[in-house]
Amino acid sequence: MEITPDIFIFWQWQGLKINATIAITWLNMLILIAGAWLVTRRLRREGRLSRWQNLLEVLVSGMEEQIHDMGLAPPREFLPFLGSLFLFVLFSNLLSVIPGYVAPTGSLSTTTALAICVFISVPLWGVQRRGFIGYLRMYIKPSVFMLPFNIMGEVSRTLALAVRLFGNVMSGSMIAGILLSIAPLFFPVLMQLLGLITGVIQAYIFAVLAAVYIAAGAQMEQQREQQVQG
């Protein structure tokens, strides 16, 4: 049994290759972008809204509200990054109910790529908000001796972020495959439904943890407290 779609290589030339993970990711991107374009090309600004526009507005405004609740302000600055994380993971996980579809999030390479994006975005926003020195000073708090632990924590949480999503999605596929061989009638269906719930929860967890890390890096809470006190 394969535990990663990376091994299905469709095209390879020297170091470059197109495997199932990349191809399905492109497919996901295509569906997401095409769907968004189809809905947003005819947006109504007043009167009765279309169902799809209503759905997207609820989705976008819900994500914006969640980001705001995390303490990230202004939410619209973080919405494209965090919202895309959530949508990409969610879409990949939900489509996995289709037989023959292999979720790109079941590949450790994909989850690692997403975790690295979060890993890089944390210092970017941290430096932007607190300055380079201010951000680096965060690693020697509360004392200089905490520097290695802080660095290890930063790396390990990125690793955990990647492995958590990969493990959950991969385990779902694995369990479905194992149950299919043991009890081929009803259990796989139930497990697939459970996999849908797990997929939605994992997408939410991934996006929320990314938001929390970014907020911690930018020390939004402290800034907000200072503003309140000031």
């Binding site: 991107m29 947006l43 976008v60 494209p80 990054f81 994380l85 390479s109 997403l114 994006c117």
Partner: protein, 259 residues
């Protein structure tokens, strides 16, 4: 090896492309549409608020106007009622006055008519009676009415009480006697009348005659302010009184019917 670093790099790039495309095709348009709608809603809410305030002011203004109108209407109504009452009183007074005027005019007309009627009645009855008496006396006794009248006058003169006769005689000696009759007395009758008068009042009494006097049938003797007469006048007066009583009764019944 579960991690393929080329795939990691490709997926990272893919994700960044996805972020850019979603920002272009999803978040941007949706957020802009929501913002515009929100702005429009804010504007509309502000408009609604201002219109609400305006409506409140208008309501207050119209309520005031309505109250003023109501008060003015009450005042006007009272004034009109007073005017109507005043006018009603005036009209009733005018109607009463007019009715009284009509009644007075009617009464005056009746009175006038009655007087003219009686005057005419006296004339006609007198004339008719004179004719009848003359004719009947002529037919029955072959005596002219004048003779009988003179004889009757002399008898009445002789029947006067002594005090009355003295009073009349005293006046007759000073001023003479005027004899009035509706017909011309012949000399024979004048002589008989003068004899009767002188016998009653004294021999030196001067007699003057006035014929064709406007008076009923009879002979009248005027001595200064005294007047002595005999004729049908007294009967006429009695007849007149009876007719007047009858006439008044009939007039009152007609007047009640008119009112």
């Amino acid at each position: 090896m579960l991690i393929d670093w080329f795939t990691v790099a490709a997926q990272a790039v893919n994700f960044l492309i996805l972020v850019a495309l979603l920002k272009r095709f999803l978040y941007g348009p949706i957020l802009r549409a929501m913002d515009r709608r929100e702005e429009r809603l804010v504007v509309r809410f502000a408009e609604a608020e201002s219109k609400l305030v305006e409506a409140g002011q208008l309501e207050e203004q119209y309520r005031g106007l309505l109250q003023e109108l109501e008060e003015a209407r009450g005042v006007k109504l009272r004034q009109v009622e007073e005017d109507v009452e005043d006018q009603r009183r005036k009209l009733i007074a005018a109607a009463k006055e007019e009715a009284a005027e009509v009644r007075r005019a009617w009464a005056a007309a009746i009175r006038e008519e009655r007087e003219s009627f009686f005057t005419e009645l006296k004339k006609r009855v007198g004339g008719e009676m004179l004719k009848i008496a003359r004719k009947s006396l002529g037919d029955l006794a072959n005596t002219e009415l004048e003779q009988l009248m003179v004889a009757r006058f002399n008898e009445r003169l002789a029947e006067l009480r002594s005090d009355e006769r003295e009073q009349v005689a005293l006046a007759a000696c000073d001023r003479g006697v005027l004899v009035r009759s509706p017909f011309a007395l012949p000399d024979q009758l004048r002589q008989r009348l003068a004899d009767g008068v002188r016998q009653a009042l004294g021999p030196s009494v001067e007699l003057n005659y006035q014929d064709q006097a406007v008076m009923p049938l009879g002979i009248e003797l005027t001595v200064g302010g005294l007047k002595l007469s005999w004729g049908v006048d007294s009967y006429f007066e009695q007849l007149e009184q009876e007719v007047a009583v009858l006439y008044d009764g009939q007039a009152s019944v007609s007047a009640e019917a008119c009112l």
